[in-house]
């Protein structure tokens, strides 16, 4: 089967980007990829939102509200990794850094995908790029051990940061991922996230 890429972390001018949402969709068509915009605005195409909270109760409340409006929910991790994976409902844990065994176990249990952001590699250099690469290698290793999903995103804030299938797959291969893992991170996991939402809509009527 031909490899495809669904990029679920892109930004348009309505958040921190510079291009209009329609332009990004057109550019994605030229690159033969699908994208979802995570501006926190409901578009006629795939739209996601970042949620943030101080505690579990607040997070659950925000997830419940966002679920009905958006196709997928992202959570910015880092120091809040444990909070992000503590509940079901978050789809993607972004900026997670190197995840610890507890986060890895909970991400696997709650079906939360941990992000590999290609943009982080592009925007860093020297020692900071080495740190980013180290985190990615660590997360790949933990994903194999604990079985949580990895998802690849571009984190594109403009049309030039979108990557086509060939570039993305070669970068992932370069990072040490196997062909099957690459397909899983580029296509299967994003598709699973989108279909999860569709199923929820069906159940709720």
């Amino acid at each position: 089967m031909k490899l495809k890429f669904i990029d679920l972390k892109t930004y348009s001018v309505n958040s921190v980007g510079v291009d209009s949402p329609t332009r990004l969709i057109e550019e994605a068509k030229l690159l033969k990829i699908d994208i979802g915009l995570c501006d926190g605005v409901r578009y006629p195409y795939l739209s996601g939102i970042f949620v943030d909270a101080k505690n579990k109760k607040e997070l659950l409340k925000k997830i419940k509200k966002a679920r009905s409006l958006y196709d997928y929910i992202l959570f910015r991790g880092g120091e809040k990794n444990r909070l992000g994976v503590s509940v079901k409902g978050i789809d993607i844990l972004t900026d997670a850094g190197a995840v610890d065994p507890y986060v890895a176990r909970m991400a696997s249990k709650n079906e939360i995908a941990v992000e590999i952001c290609i943009g982080d590699l592009i925007h860093t250099s020297k020692s900071s790029r080495i740190r980013t690469l180290k985190c990615i290698h660590h997360n790949i290793k933990f994903s194999r051990k604990y079985g949580f999903d990895l998802i690849v995103t571009s984190g594109a804030r403009n049309r030039y940061e979108l990557k086509n299938v060939k570039s993305t797959s070669e970068i992932l291969k370069f990072l040490g991922m196997e062909d099957e893992e690459i397909k899983h991170a580029m296509l299967d996991v994003p598709r699973k996230i989108i279909e999860r939402k569709k199923e929820e809509v069906k159940i709720l009527g």
Partner: protein, 175 residues
């Protein structure tokens, strides 16, 4: 250094890779060749680069298409390195691989079908309530210079010049 004569079977198999440089700015051959070289050296290191048999063959600044050649074993690594270039001399760029081929003739044939070029124009227009200056057009895609301070600041931060829109979003009149 004297050129070593080798039998055909002993020669390294080559792959020609064509790429297109996408940017709001004009990028010269020197700039792009240096950027690629530095990225290869930074990411792969001297040992691996020595095994690549890498050579920068050509680059046309107008069509923005370039060709590099390397060993067939390492074509994946070269594509990955090219894709990880984001800035050249403080200008935002994106390098998109177009085609790979074993001969330069076949590569040129493949590339000629895949290149598109923006046409430079000079219109004034409106994007919603905001005043804009249309700078480049390709089919439905339009690159504009905004006057909005917040968006200009974002563009400066990203080392870019134009905001990307589509034709339906702009109301414009010819000057």
């Amino acid at each position: 250094m004297a050129k070593i004569k080798m039998s055909k079977s002993m020669r390294e198999k080559k792959r020609y890779l064509a790429f297109v440089v996408r940017s709001d700015f004009y990028i010269t051959k020197k700039e792009i060749s240096l950027a690629i070289w530095h990225t290869l050296m930074n990411l792969l290191g001297e040992m691996k680069v020595s095994k690549l048999h890498y050579r920068f063959l050509e680059y046309d600044g107008d069509s923005r298409v370039g060709i590099v050649v390397c060993s067939h074993k390492f074509i994946g690594e070269v594509i990955a390195c090219l894709s990880l270039i984001g800035n050249v001399n403080n200008k935002r760029v994106s390098i998109v691989p177009l085609a790979v081929s074993g001969t330069i003739k076949a590569l040129r044939r493949k590339v000629s079908r895949r290149v598109f070029q923006f046409r430079e124009v000079n219109y004034n227009g409106k994007w919603g309530e905001k005043d804009i200056k249309v700078a480049q057009i390709y089919n439905n895609l339009i690159d504009v210079e905004p006057f909005d301070e917040e968006i200009c600041e974002r563009l400066r931060e990203m080392n870019m010049k134009f905001v990307g829109l589509v034709r339906e979003e702009v109301k414009f009149k010819e000057e």
